[in-house]
Symmetry: C2
Subunit: 559 residues, 2 copies
């Protein structure tokens, strides 16, 4: 049994326990505070990041020829100038396929031990700080979000995927003795051996904003079950992926395995590599995070492969009533601001009865609810330093275009409650930033609000009443998907009705959630995508996410 497995065994056991009881826990440091890490490591990491900019990224990939890379920092608006080794999709898939037999034949504990070591190295402070800089200057997140959300939070989801893979594999015994009589004696005794077999190459397509959060669980689950992985990052967001791919390859090589088990195919918008990767005969598993249209295409056209997707939805808030108007506004507004609403859990569509609601015992008009939310947005972004922490930057120009398009359409279909504008980033004066655009509209204007507008755009939608709000919101779930949904109601009957309605629509629901960032989806605690609406099927943390990544062949013989 692998020494690395022994080294990390207690952590795995703890993760399995956390998955079972689903309490809050993290295995990795979430805070970049110098009180924890000192000043030297953060300073060195900043230098290490700066030293990578403008140069070829140091990573040996099989059959690489030339360099590729067109990342632009959302903070400096300058090209990172990092060239990544260019490898052909077929070369990456062939390398992955060729590396698999020895990996497959290693025992489960060896593979899981190596995966745990990968997470451990990625969870060391120097790696976390470099990862945070890399994520900031590609995905546009603030440093603090990049450190936690793309560091510990993502590693926890990776560890969780590993825990589930371990559970699913442990369910299959290695051997059995089987004895029975057929007709006359003697009985027949067979020895049976059950071998866990990988499916093949796992193409992991990561998104522009949170490549680690979905990438780690997919990669961990697939590697643990004996598959090889080819990561295809979004062309905007290569560096964080290149960093973790390099670390994973180092661990594999250190342990005597072919680093071809994890490669990265960097591509460009003009010459995309995804379809050739999916079409390669060795490809058997696809994990996709990205836009709904391409996600649906993959689900339909590549459904003969094992496909896990997380796309996007029309995340909604239904406000029926509240007995804590201030907190409700504060935390809904937080979601409208956080990471410039570029998270899969950001809310977009806020349904409010046209005649207003009862809040803290008083009647508030629609306009008063709107004011409460807008004021809460304003207080989140009053302090420039805090705004920078909370909002970060826009990942690319298309997000600004989304804002501008909605603003342009608004006069005909509603009114602007709060306009978006760049905010001055205290550290990066040219950063691509935008505060939330908040628009009021009518429930009838489905064509306006009823799809994802990626970025800091939200709609306050006037409905006939709370039931109408619920029916409109859940209809959007069915048609456009949802990854997160919220209801605010002081009325237990309506809470129960909402829970049923969202469950019927295949959506998870937070009820009166306050006191924390409502976008937060916790590893070990929160099941992610439900798979029951168009936002994908990558739960991340159930047996279905791992059980299809391996197969069983058996051998049997007479004793």
């Amino acid at each position: 049994m692998s020494g690395l497995f022994q080294k990390h065994r207690a952590l795995l056991d703890k993760a399995i326990d956390a998955c079972t009881h689903r309490y809050a826990w993290t295995a990795y440091p979430e805070s970049p505070s110098s009180r924890i890490h000192g000043k030297e490591i953060p300073a060195q990491a900043k230098e290490d990041y700066a030293a990578m900019v403008g140069r070829p990224f140091e990573m040996d990939l099989p059959g690489s020829h030339g360099l590729v890379g067109e990342e632009v920092s959302p903070y400096t608006r300058e090209p990172l100038g990092i060239g990544y080794p260019r490898i052909d999709p077929a070369v990456a898939c062939n390398a992955a396929r060729d590396a698999m037999p020895a990996w497959r034949d290693a025992d489960v504990a060896t593979r899981v031990g190596i995966c745990l070591e990968m997470l451990d190295r990625l969870g060391q402070a120097p790696a976390l700080f470099v990862n945070a800089h890399a994520t900031m200057h590609t995905a546009g997140q603030s440093f603090i979000m990049a450190f936690a959300g793309c560091g510990a939070n993502a590693l926890d989801r990776g560890l969780e995927g590993l825990a589930y893979a371990w559970k699913a594999m442990r369910d299959v015994p290695a051997t059995a003795t089987w004895e029975r009589q057929f007709g006359a004696p003697p009985a027949v005794t067979l020895e049976k051996r059950y071998r866990l077999m990988p499916r093949g190459v796992n193409v992991v397509i990561t998104c522009a904003t949170f490549p680690q959060w979905n990438g780690y669980p997919a990669i961990m689950a697939s590697l643990a079950t004996g598959n090889a992985v080819v990561v295809k990052p979004h062309p905007n967001c290569l560096l964080p992926v290149a960093l973790f791919v390099r670390t994973m390859r180092e661990v594999l090589a250190d342990e005597g395995f072919d680093p071809g088990l994890v490669t990265m195919v960097a591509d460009t918008r003009s010459e995309p590599a995804t379809i050739p990767l999916l079409d390669h005969p060795a490809t058997a598993i696809v994990d996709f995070t990205g836009g709904p249209a391409f996600g649906a295409y993959i689900e339909k056209e590549y459904g003969h492969l094992q496909v896990y997707t997380e796309t996007a939805g029309c995340n909604s808030v239904v406000i029926e009533s509240t007995d804590d108007f201030g907190s409700m506004c504060r935390w809904v507004a937080h979601s409208m601001c956080q990471a410039s609403a570029q998270m899969c859990t950001s809310v977009q569509n806020i349904f409010v009865p046209r005649d207003g609601i009862v809040a803290d015992g008083d009647r508030l008009s629609f306009e008063e609810v709107a004011s409460g939310l807008v004021d809460a947005v304003e207080s989140h972004i009053a302090d420039p330093k805090h705004t920078a922490f909370l909002c970060g930057a826009l990942v690319d120009d298309s997000v600004q275009e989304n804002i501008d398009r909605v603003r342009d359409q608004t006069p005909a279909l509603g009114s602007v409650l709060r306009d978006s504008a760049p905010y001055a980033h205290p550290e990066y004066p040219v950063a691509r930033t935008a505060t939330p655009l908040v628009v009021a509209t009518e429930a009838d204007n489905k064509g306006f609000y009823g799809r994802e507008h990626f970025g800091p755009v939200s709609f306050l939608i006037a409905t006939d009443d709370a039931e109408h709000a619920l029916s409109r919101a859940t209809e959007d779930v069915r048609e456009h998907g949802a990854i997160t949904s919220h209801v605010y109601s002081a009325n237990p009957g309506f809470q129960a009705q909402a829970a049923e309605a969202y469950a019927d629509a295949g959506a998870s629901l937070s009820i009166n959630l306050v006191g924390m960032p409502i976008n937060f989806a916790a590893a070990y605690g929160d099941y992610h995508v439900t798979g029951l609406n168009p936002a994908g099927n990558a739960c991340l943390t159930d047996l279905a996410f791992v059980a299809g990544r391996f197969r069983i062949v058996q051998q049997r013989w007479n004793v």
Copy 2:
């Protein structure tokens, strides 16, 4: 908690234990012997079967209009004349969809208890005997095979599917308390509720020969996880399906659930219902047993659904050497005869080195190996009564056509080692019967032998040597699939090489299997289809077979 769950709890626990340790066990009577069941129950069952022939089948199905049914007994060659209620695919799917909410909201133990009760009723002696007659006169099996293989053996696979569904659902806790601090105190405490949600309607397409063996596990796994089931039986083999569907509906109704949860859409060759069922928007899961071409079509075109398939393969035997030539020939020949080689585990292609093998220490020529096998076939079918037990009848005329086609092609491509002919059935003089056709050919003639020829057709294929045999056999696995594979070798090195080669090709392997019917795939012991070759992916007995049949939605709220 359901009284039925308490009633059958010990059986479920035993099944889980059997799945975990994978020993031989059966929960249901395998033998029709009157020493166990007395004479009255069998006699009554025979009368009950006879009373069903020539009449409308008594079953209320939603929206039925008219009758459908064109079954012909392979034993009497006469139409059964049983009319089944005709229902439109959309009506069945709508009824299934509408019945789901109450079933979904029943607790897991209630659903599992009801499923256990269904198996229990189907496993009572009267039901088993009627089922055996029905299976005999549709699928063409001998009575004894129909009793065990489509009775206890199939029920055990159903119980096994239920056990896995239970395990997968038990992995998800019902609730959790989650507490953590975000920034400044106080900590946030959330209650989380995790709800198991069904996927939707499960269309279960059963085959002409063993509808229960694949049907029960699919139906049990889907019902237990909250889905509804529409069974689409093969037009040749409706009666056994109608019987179990009726029993399942009775149990549902007895327990106060809508029997629309299990329906049957009977169709005809000229007006097939499968595509409309698959296209219905409520359909979310497909279990298909049948031909490889249609199976591949479903996997490709309906891959966005959750698809489980068992199709067919080119099941092979590689003979390298043996130290028990007699037993080897006896048991390989048994597979060539059993159920007229209409089982998914029947062997077809027997690869033997052209220069012969070492058997029991002596050199035997290819021709001597061939003679040994043919002689073994002859001894299996020497006694007419035993032949009838072992071989049964051909399910339809197309099987005879397969035999005739291969015989016609043989002169150009090989030689007939043993010709097929009808055998005289002692009880049914006009039964559609055929003894095995055994053909010798060369390894080069892939186009001749290298695909499934359904029925009692087998090929002795002369190869350059044992390695050549192995490479040809495993190449066929990759191209055409395999559900079972065999190697006979007295050489441990070759055994190991074969185990690796078949595992590489994604096939399970039996090594030197003798002393029992080698077609036998044991519930609780044998993982079924590997999913790594074109013969499908329905393992029947792993977490992957059940984990994709349900999803999780969660609700969370502040405490």
